[in-house]
């Protein structure tokens, strides 16, 4: 049972990182960005 918990924590962390990658990508269109 606890194994599932730690797999979920791992997947959650990487999900956050994948979202961050997409988020950073969107920042590229910021004003003043050459």
């Amino acid at each position: 049972m606890n194994d599932l918990l730690f797999v979920i924590i791992t997947l959650g962390m990487f999900g956050l990182l994948a979202a961050l990658t997409t988020g950073l990508h969107k920042l590229r269109s910021g004003v003043g960005d050459e």
Binding site: N2, L27, E34
Partner: protein, 595 residues
């Protein structure tokens, strides 16, 4: 400070200086597609790996594709390691009879995160926890893979800075394969033999039970130590075969082995600075980065050695030997230990040949500051260079603000996006270190309930499970300033992906293992992702010719500015925390019992 101490530090630095250019040239050949002697021999094998993986090495990835490849590779390898560690009881090469009891869920999570992120923090005692299979396969594979990932990211950033008006920054899979095949593999084969010749064991023997001259039974662990040792140092991993790490005579048997170890740790990070300069078409750019790293390294090494030689002022009052030898191997002495401490924390290695917890407050401040500065003093394989290049971008930004010109680096304008990304990396590190250290300093654990379960020490060879309740600081061996220093060092080491321990803190609890595991993931990827974003963005930019107003970044002035920015950012971010730890501890020690 003894002349032999100065000689040791200077000799080490001169050897490193001599190796930087040849290693850098070799790295350049490997990653920039040149033909060289090893690629002629192993080229067929390399192409076979690509065919098996379905990879087209000549196909460039943009930064986002590169980043998703890094994340996918890391996620899969972390989950695989978690599973293999939990299943060590039913897997082969387990003459020790270890199973899931020695490797509970939270510890497997911590160990998998630790090795995948190149941290190699060890909450466990390897000889009481890990089967030979877990050592050689489940964890050792990350010693190679995590180092190769760090190297790949640095190479991607170098390409991003060197390329002009291009979309791609290389192919992640090809970079990992080339790094492993042409850099780690040949050096590890040769280096493992050097370790064996020095007396490091390399076998599959079960633990040997012997009787000492005092008549006490002692269990001596044996196994494939040399093969673990070489990649542990070369890949700046740091996770040892033995709990005592490089203080153990089987890991570090002779003064030559100790010097060899120290050179291995900085070998690739130093070479990368030259490779960077060559790749951007001006080797002076690389030497400027090398000079900044060297300045920070040498100042730390000399201050640490001076502090440990000066020792505890209270001992001096009693007229006894003042040099602080507590927690140090007499085989290595003061300089052998402080130099090692400066190297292992300057890099994100984390191997230790002495107990950093036993250093004097100022002696302990040096390794702590090295980690807090982002481990850019040569740094981890790849991680050191990309960390320092983030500071280089911040430096030209600050210099640009001072003179009122648009900041440029390598002829490319630094825009808002690059500075934002550099700040994401710097702030994520600080938030993780300070946030987790603050939490561990104030959290109260109740006697019962979920939080109590989270702070239960697992049963091991020495006894059953015990729940520690009350303040979370109850896990510390020391109270006051030194205890706070232990907490700060723990989360700095985890977030910085260093893995060395100040010790003096019991961290093999579910709560600590989980928090430290998360800190390691934050420290690794909240830097890698912004670095790749910068790489992708810089690759697209045009190069404008230098003008009279261009701030030269291949000069000693820039190297010193870079040193200043690293120190000031580190000091501004962490000085309040350091003041509560080693600084106040030093003042207490100096003033104890009045003058």
């Amino acid at each position: 400070m003894a002349p032999t101490a100065i000689f040791q530090i200077v000799l080490y630095f001169l050897i490193l200086l001599a190796l930087t250019k040849p290693v850098g040239l070799y790295l350049h050949k490997v990653f920039m597609g040149d033909s060289f002697f090893l690629s002629k021999i192993l080229g067929g094998f390399e192409r076979m790996i690509y065919r098996m993986l379905g990879v087209k090495p000549e196909e460039d990835q943009n930064w986002k594709q590169y980043a998703f490849s890094v994340l996918a590779f890391s996620l899969v390898s972390m989950l695989l390691t978690y599973g293999l560690l939990r299943l060590q009881g039913v897997l082969p090469l387990n003459s020790q009879g270890f199973g899931p009891k020695q490797m509970p869920e939270h510890l497997a999570f911590n160990a998998a995160a630790s090795f995948m992120t190149n941290t190699n923090w060890q909450s466990y005692s390897p000889e009481l926890t890990l089967s030979t299979f877990s050592n050689m396969v489940s964890l050792a594979i990350h010693n190679w893979a995590s180092a190769a990932v760090g190297l790949a990211v640095a190479v991607a950033l170098i390409r991003g800075l060197a390329r002009r008006e291009m979309n791609g920054i290389g192919n992640f899979w090809a970079d990992v394969v080339r790094g492993t095949l042409y850099i780690f593999l040949p050096i590890c084969i040769a280096g493992a033999l050097v370790y064996v010749a020095s007396g490091v064991p390399q076998n599959f023997s079960p633990n040997q039970s012997i009787t000492t001259v005092e008549g006490v039974k002692q269990n001596i662990a044996l196994g494939p130590v040399a093969s673990q040792e070489i990649i542990k140092q070369l890949g700046t991993n740091g996770g040892g075969f033995f709990n005592a790490n490089s203080a153990h005579p089987f890991e570090n048997p002779t003064p030559f082995a100790d010097l060899f170890t120290k050179i291995l740790i900085f070998l690739i990070p130093a070479g990368l600075t030259y490779m960077f300069g060559k790749a951007v078409g001006n080797v002076r750019q690389g030497w400027a980065i090398f000079a900044a790293m060297s300045t920070l390294f040498l100042v730390g090494a000399f201050v640490g050695t001076w502090a440990e030689t000066a020792g505890n002022p209270q001992f001096a009052k009693l007229g006894v030997e003042v040099a602080n030898m507590e927690g140090k191997e007499t085989r290595f002495g003061i300089a052998g230990s402080t130099l090692f401490a400066s190297i292992t924390t300057g890099a994100s290695c984390g191997a230790v040949n002495s107990m950093h917890d036993s250093f004097t407050p100022i002696g302990g401040l040096v390794p702590m500051f090295n980690i807090l500065s982002g481990e850019v003093i040569f740094g981890g394989v790849g991680a050191g260079l990309y960390g320092m290049l983030i500071f280089a971008i911040l430096s030209v930004f600050i210099a640009g603000l001072m003179v009122g010109r648009t900041p440029e680096y390598l002829g490319k304008k630094i825009g808002r996006f690059e500075v934002q990304m550099a700040m994401v990396a710097v702030l994520a590190m600080a938030a993780s270190i300070l946030g987790f250290a603050a939490l561990a300093s104030v959290l109260q654990i109740p006697k019962e309930g979920v939080m109590a379960a989270l702070n239960t020490f697992p049963g091991d060879a020495y006894g059953g499970a015990v729940t520690a309740y009350g303040p979370m600081t109850g896990n510390l061996n020391n109270s006051g300033a030194h205890g706070f220093g232990e907490i700060l060092y723990t989360f700095a080491s985890a977030t910085g992906n260093n893995g060395s321990a100040f010790a003096g803190i019991t961290v093999n609890t579910p709560l600590y293992n989980t928090l430290i595991g998360i800190a390691m993931l934050v420290g690794r990827f909240f830097v890698i992702l912004p670095v790749l974003a910068i790489a992708g963005h810089m690759a697209k930019k045009k190069v404008t010719p230098n003008s009279a107003g261009t701030f030269p970044t291949d000069s000693s002035t820039f190297a010193m500015l870079l040193v200043g920015v690293v120190v000031i950012v580190g000091a501004l971010t962490f000085f309040p925390a350091l003041a509560l730890g080693p600084v106040v501890e030093h003042l207490q020690l100096s003033n104890m019992g009045g003058k």
